[in-house]
Symmetry: C2
Subunit: 322 residues, 2 copies
DNA sequence: CTGTTAGCGCTTTCAT
DNA sequence: ATGAAAGCGCTAACAG
């Protein structure tokens, strides 16, 4: 304690926080001693007595390799800063996020993130801290959420592609949910898609890894197996960019021969040729809604409440690839 | 206090942390009451008394739109998790980072980030918290740092491009440091580059915005002004990807007519055609060194020390564009 | 201007 | 198995 080095507890506080009611000379002396001793006030004790407790939000980021997630993280950080929240992040790179969640839960007031596991597992890992689940199309009982109405976007997209003259429409899905590579478990995006396609037609669906390369490979496979397709809906923009590259390699004209439509609305999509058309997700709104939930919970001091739910609607962003 | 609702303080603690030495029945009763009241132990008081204080690192991310920074953030997060650090992030999107720094400083033990301002400004915003400066090529007096020896990488690159037969080598620089668009203030990457180019030759340097689009525009401008260049070093991979696109549009063969070499080593560079050659920065090492500093500081309990400095060397990654 | 007292909300230690 | 007391390191409020 720096108090030993001259004065009393309180005077040290006054000097370090430069409050008034202290002799300038004593202040200098205290500051000097504290520096010499390398003294640092404990942030724990400080926040314990602080009148206005700092509000901290935990964010579980799925992957720092997919710009979709990092852009959401960026939006959330910006939004959080403007609303006076601190953000502690953890990433769950291909794990299910519950590990990250249970690391975070003791340090924060609320956790926001993409979680693909069951309601029960999330609740258990949350350890009593409220969780805001992002981006699920299905609703988890008893959890706050900012959902995504991709279904309506996909319906609109299929209709629009038809209107543009595409007769056979295929899809490149993610193989993420398929634990054995041999059997494909359709993602919910894929299930929505299949529902809006005429049941009569053969299904032209191929799955790949969620990356640019995965999209390329899947596109090649799709065109080999179903050469008749005139439009392809792709699980996300990253894979769609890969598909555009593959089309270029295969010398297939986009959108002349095949229309390619991604999902996400990444700005990266502007960088390929032709620029990627996509079902665009309003990530700014997603972040803002998540913070709305956080603010609402803070207002009632994080007491138990009925789940707060928001839905964000995507919109079609027609660039050139479809 | 849930103690009012039945038992005493400690019994509540015992129940909530399920410690032993408590009747199973009382425990259940306490848990039930605490849930009904929506009771949450204060994380502030908890961390105050915790034997092992949680170590928290602040990370100032420059931009969530440039994968270079998000990938570093990802590496840091992973590395931090494995070494038992929490990470609080703030982003400084195009601001100078001191605002983010001063937001973070009361909440963390040490701050890591890219800072382009002066030593004094950083120190002031840090408010006594140690700072680890990343990626500067110049050294800031009295600050811990993980520096980047880009100079040697650029020298090697210029030499290699010459060896591959490129006679005139141009550069696309960032206009970030130029506050008026009309006068170009060369970045340090650019100054290094110019030093390794024969002083006799006319300088073929053009500056643009740090984005894919900025790279495209700058490439077009460069080829118009200096049609004789046979190789181009680009400020970063994002801009280099733009340059590759522009070359495609202008029908310039890469690497046949012009070799294009980026800086950063983004995996995104694999996604363009031809795949981008680049001066690759080992982001994993960068993150690891930053955490080495943090660990060293934690070991001496964040007392004042002489600056700790690491240097990370880049390596040339020859894919196909150069 | 400075020092003393009283908590912040929890956990640990020691009694019961 | 439970309760009482002490203290984590700080700051607010009051005394001197």
């Amino acid at each position: 304690m720096a108090a030993l080095a001259g004065v009393s507890r309180q005077t040290v506080t006054r000097a370090l926080n430069d409050m008034n009611g202290i002799n300038d000379e004593t202040k200098q002396r205290v500051l000097e001693v504290s520096k010499r001793l390398g003294y640092r006030p404990s942030r724990f004790a400080r926040s314990l007595v602080a009148r206005e407790k700092t509000r901290t939000l935990g964010l579980v980021v799925n992957s720092f390799r997919n710009p979709y997630y990092t852009e959401i993280a960026g939006e959330l950080l910006a939004c959080a800063a403007s609303r006076n929240w601190q953000v502690i992040m953890a990433s769950s790179e291909s794990a299910d996020g519950t590990a990250a969640l249970s690391m975070l839960s003791p340090q924060v007031d609320v956790v926001v993130g993409h979680f693909w596991t069951s309601h029960e597992q999330i609740e258990q890992a949350a350890n009593g801290i409220p969780v805001v689940v992002l981006d699920r199309t299905d609703h988890l009982p008893g959890m706050h959420s900012v959902e995504l109405d991709l279904r309506s976007g996909i319906e609109e997209a299929v209709r629009a592609l038809r209107a543009k003259g595409a007769r056979a429409i295929g899809m490149i899905d993610s193989n993420y949910s398929s634990h054995q590579p041999s059997v494909h478990v359709p993602s919910s995006r894929c299930r929505d898609f299949e529902e809006f396609i005429d049941p009569g037609r053969p299904k032209a669906v191929v799955a790949g890894e969620e990356s640019i390369r995965g999209g390329s490979l899947a596109f090649v496979e799709l065109m080999r197996a179903h050469p008749y397709v005139e439009a392809v809906l792709v699980f996300n923009d990253l894979m769609a960019i890969g598909a555009v590259h593959a089309a270029h390699t295969l010398d297939i004209k986009v959108p002349g021969q095949v229309r390619i439509l991604g999902i996400d609305g990444l700005s990266l999509g502007e960088a390929v040729h032709p620029p990627l058309s996509t079902i665009s997700i309003d990530r700014e709104a997603l972040a803002a809604r998540a913070l709305d939930v956080a603010d609402a919970l803070a207002a009632i001091n994080f007491a138990e409440t009925a789940p707060i739910r928001y839905v964000v609607r995507p919109r079609l962003l027609w660039r050139e690839s479809a």
